[in-house]
């Protein structure tokens, strides 16, 4: 047949460009820091996930450099064959100890954890019950499974129980999945109630705590510690790429979970393992969290100050109780206008507009950073106040 084998590449890309739907990532020149350089402009960073600024912590950087010297630049293989180093195992032991669980397993990324593990936990004849606002990578994991899926209204425990009751007699296994901290709204899932309901109906629980790890709970130990239910969530999943300041996905739970997960997750089995520098940085990040509680404290001090001031100005911040603070703008055009104004004023915060959120719920999503000083926050707040007034939001 006479066909152009590659023609679709440009055609589909051009179609995205025409609608302005193509990604145009902005470039950071230098480290992801509380104040950093984005395409030549110095800005206060309010949209990175580097909550604790650990990516710049001298001890963690030093641990990475040391590991390159002692273990080399790469790991040589996948974990299953010849790519498991002592550093990988130490990192997993430290995660389990830190989160008060029996065991832990580290995946290449958070996405690899969800996409690799979820489809193995349930199969045909089983059901996954999921919060409607769960993160994309959970949704992907859910879709890769042959199990049925039930969806419940965001954080609605009444509806969760109704779905559990309906599923109880129809299915073999039931798996309840939720985000710990929801990334768009910054609210926390009632994991304690979810665990209680799951236990009542004999269901497994899986909490994706990507935005809670290093942020909520004593010393930033995550969602289990936050609710005092450590070890009771069957799969506590998290990531090293946010508050820990490194990269990598993790799951914490029982020995049985670890044994099962590493033998069954194709993402884990078929990707090369983390380079030594990454594994050493993961260990050092946990060290820092255990020994230097000031970072988490500072993150919350900053968060409280920022939220208080921004509310005082008359902004609506939704239901957020975490360092993710959405600043409601109403229509999409206003959120875009405010974001552009902020960038000009040296504040980097992105608009979240329709269709990511409802048509009248466009917002600027801000993420706090422990490395920001009071003067930075005041500068950002001043820009928000002037911008908010200029755009007619406050």
């Amino acid at each position: 047949m006479n066909r152009n084998p590659n023609g679709f590449l440009r055609e589909e890309y051009n179609a995205l460009v025409e609608k302005n739907f193509n990604w145009q990532p902005k470039t950071l020149e230098g480290p992801s820091a509380p104040v950093c350089k984005v395409e030549g402009k110095e800005v206060i960073m309010l949209c990175s996930n580097n909550y604790l600024n650990l990516s710049n912590h001298p001890k963690i950087k030093k641990a990475s450099i040391q590991a390159v010297k002692s273990h080399g630049a790469g790991s040589g293989s996948v974990r299953g064959i010849a790519g498991t180093m002592d550093l990988h195992l130490i990192a997993e032991e430290r995660v389990a100890k830190f989160k008060h669980t029996e065991a832990a397993l580290i995946y290449q990324t958070g996405f690899a954890a969800n996409a690799g593990l979820i489809p193995q936990l349930v199969d045909k004849g089983d059901i996954i019950i999921s919060d409607e606002l769960n993160h994309g990578s959970i949704i992907d994991g859910v879709r890769l499974s042959k199990a049925d899926k039930g969806v419940y209204k965001h954080c609605d425990m009444g509806e969760l129980e109704r779905v559990l009751k309906d599923a109880d007699s129809k299915y073999r296994r039931i798996l309840v999945i939720t985000d710990g901290v929801f990334s768009m709204d910054g609210d926390i899932a009632p994991a304690d109630e979810i665990v209680k309901l799951a236990q009542k109906y004999g269901a497994m629980t899986y909490v994706d705590d990507a935005h809670g790890e290093g942020v909520i709970g004593p010393d930033g130990r995550g969602v289990g510690a936050h609710f005092g239910i450590e070890g009771k969530i069957d799969v506590e999943m998290g990531t090293f790429s946010k508050a820990y300041g490194v990269v990598g996905g993790l799951i914490a739970g029982s020995h049985d979970l670890r044994n099962f997960a590493l033998n069954k997750s194709r993402t884990w089995l078929l990707s090369g393992s983390h380079p030594p520098a990454v594994a050493a940085a993961q260990i050092a990040a946990i060290d820092v969290l255990e020994k230097e509680p000031r970072h988490v404290k500072k993150l919350w001090t900053n968060t409280k100050y920022f939220k208080k001031q921004i509310k005082k100005m008359g902004f609506d911040t939704g239901n957020s109780t975490t360092p993710i603070t959405p600043i409601m703008c109403g229509e999409s055009a206003k959120a875009k206008e405010l974001s552009a104004f902020l960038f000009k004023e040296g504040v980097y915060a992105l608009p979240i507009v329709f269709p990511m959120v409802a048509r009248d719920k466009a917002r600027i999503r801000t993420m706090m950073n422990a490395g920001l000083k009071r003067e930075h926050l005041d500068k950002a707040l001043d820009a928000f106040e002037r911008g908010g007034k200029k755009c007619g939001i406050i």
């Binding site: 993160h135 039930g150 509806e159 269709p355």
Partner: protein, 404 residues
């Protein structure tokens, strides 16, 4: 376009329709939007004087003192549109006089006349205007009227282009109407901006035959497209994909096809509606939108069945699954548009084997599902605990409230 699940197997980005990224400007679709505009000047006149509509009884209505209200409603909608949508990229196409032109003129909108109305405007004018608008390749038809007008326009345009109604009739059971004239302007503005997409809705009206026998029965006549917020799915970080209704229904159909393969001994009965029609097409069946059809062991075993034929067919199978789609907003699963599925038929089906299918967006705007088979005891048992699991995508379910 690639099918969903092929993308899914790649494990990359599953909903391939549109990837909308947060920091880009969206909404500018470029070019002009062509809007057709038809006003039924006598719509709604019967209401205040106690008539069921104005179809064929306009003289009675006038004698009873009815005054025209449609023009006023249309003008209110246009005034709101002018307030909220300031761009001048709408091209209007309409009929002469009070069927459109005079109202657009008063609102200050330039327009082209595609149909010269007769002296005493009537139904033929609506049909002729709809035909001309279709020929003019308008993007949407905005009309002012009730169920009768909606039916007339839909009979011409079908699901080729979307339609949107400014509510002004005596009967407005169809899913194409805005809540108020002002809200209709908001919907049109959303459609022009590309935020709202055509989705399928039912065209309902009073069954005139039954009405003449003294019964007030609303039934399903057709299926049309109207702008709605799409089903949104987050497919990766900060990226949301907007899945079209057709894509979602395909996902549902894929699941139903799997069921038919897993259960070759089961008789699958498909009720009326656009969703079930699309599922039937996926299964390779020849289905009418209003009819009831049956499928078993990979092939069609019944077409446009009446109650007797359904009962006869059900006797041949041990297990029966009913696939039904609720009527949008009103929520009827049984008892409207599918009376062939009589209580006797429904009693042969286990409650867990009644599969209600709906796109999530449609379910969202349908607050409660209803069973109205005419047998109160059966309706109660179908309602069960008051919640029903509805198929909303491939192997995906949501509980919906059922009126007990």
């Amino acid at each position: 376009m690639l099918k969903f699940r092929q993308g899914m197997l790649l494990g990359v980005c599953f909903f391939l329709t549109l990837c909308i990224i947060y920091f880009n400007d969206s909404g500018d679709w470029g070019g002009m939007m062509k809007v057709g505009f038809i006003v039924n000047p006598i719509a709604g006149m019967g209401g205040r004087v106690g008539l069921k509509g104005t179809d064929g009884v306009i003289e009675d209505a006038r004698e009873l003192g009815a005054v025209p209200i449609a023009g006023e409603h249309a003008a209110a909608m246009l005034a709101e549109l002018r307030r909220i949508y300031r761009n001048s990229d709408i091209q209007w196409f309409t009929c002469s006089g009070e069927m459109g032109a005079s109202i657009l003129e008063e609102a200050g909108y330039e327009h082209s006349i595609i149909h010269e109305t007769s002296a005493d405007t009537n139904r033929e004018d609506t049909l002729a205007a709809a035909r001309k608008l279709l020929e003019s390749r308008v993007d949407i038809i905005l009309f002012c009227g009730g169920d009768g007008t909606a039916r007339d326009i839909c009979s011409v345009i079908g699901r080729k282009i979307p339609m949107l109604g400014i509510p002004s009739g005596v009967k407005m059971h169809s899913g194409v109407f805005g809540i108020t004239p002002a809200k209709t302007a908001d919907v049109l503005a959303g459609f022009i901006a590309g935020e709202l997409k055509p989705a399928e809705v039912e065209i309902m009206d009073l069954d005139e035959g039954k009405y003449r026998q003294g019964e007030w029965v609303v039934r399903l006549y057709d299926s049309a497209l109207t702008p709605f917020e799409s089903t949104l799915v987050q497919s990766s970080k900060l990226m949301v994909t907007e899945a079209s209704d057709a894509d979602i229904i395909n996902e549902i159909a894929e699941y139903i096809e799997e069921l038919t393969k897993e259960e070759p001994e089961t008789l699958f009965i498909l009720g009326p509606g656009g969703t079930t029609e699309a599922i039937a097409k996926y299964l390779g069946m020849d289905k009418t939108i209003l009819g009831i059809d049956a499928f078993a062991a990979g092939s069609q075993v019944g077409k446009d069945l009446n109650e007797a034929a359904i009962l006869k067919l059900t006797n041949k199978y041990n297990k029966i699954k009913l696939i039904l789609s609720p009527i949008g907003s009103q929520g009827f699963v049984l008892g409207r548009g599918n009376l062939q599925l009589s209580p006797e038929v429904v009693r042969k089906v286990h409650r867990n084997d009644i599969l209600v299918v709906s796109t999530p967006a449609k379910l969202e705007r349908t607050p409660v599902l209803r069973f109205d088979t005419g047998d109160a005891e059966l309706d109660r048992s179908l309602a069960g605990s008051g919640w029903l699991s509805v198929v909303v995508s491939y192997r995906m379910f949501r509980l919906a409230k059922v009126q007990v």
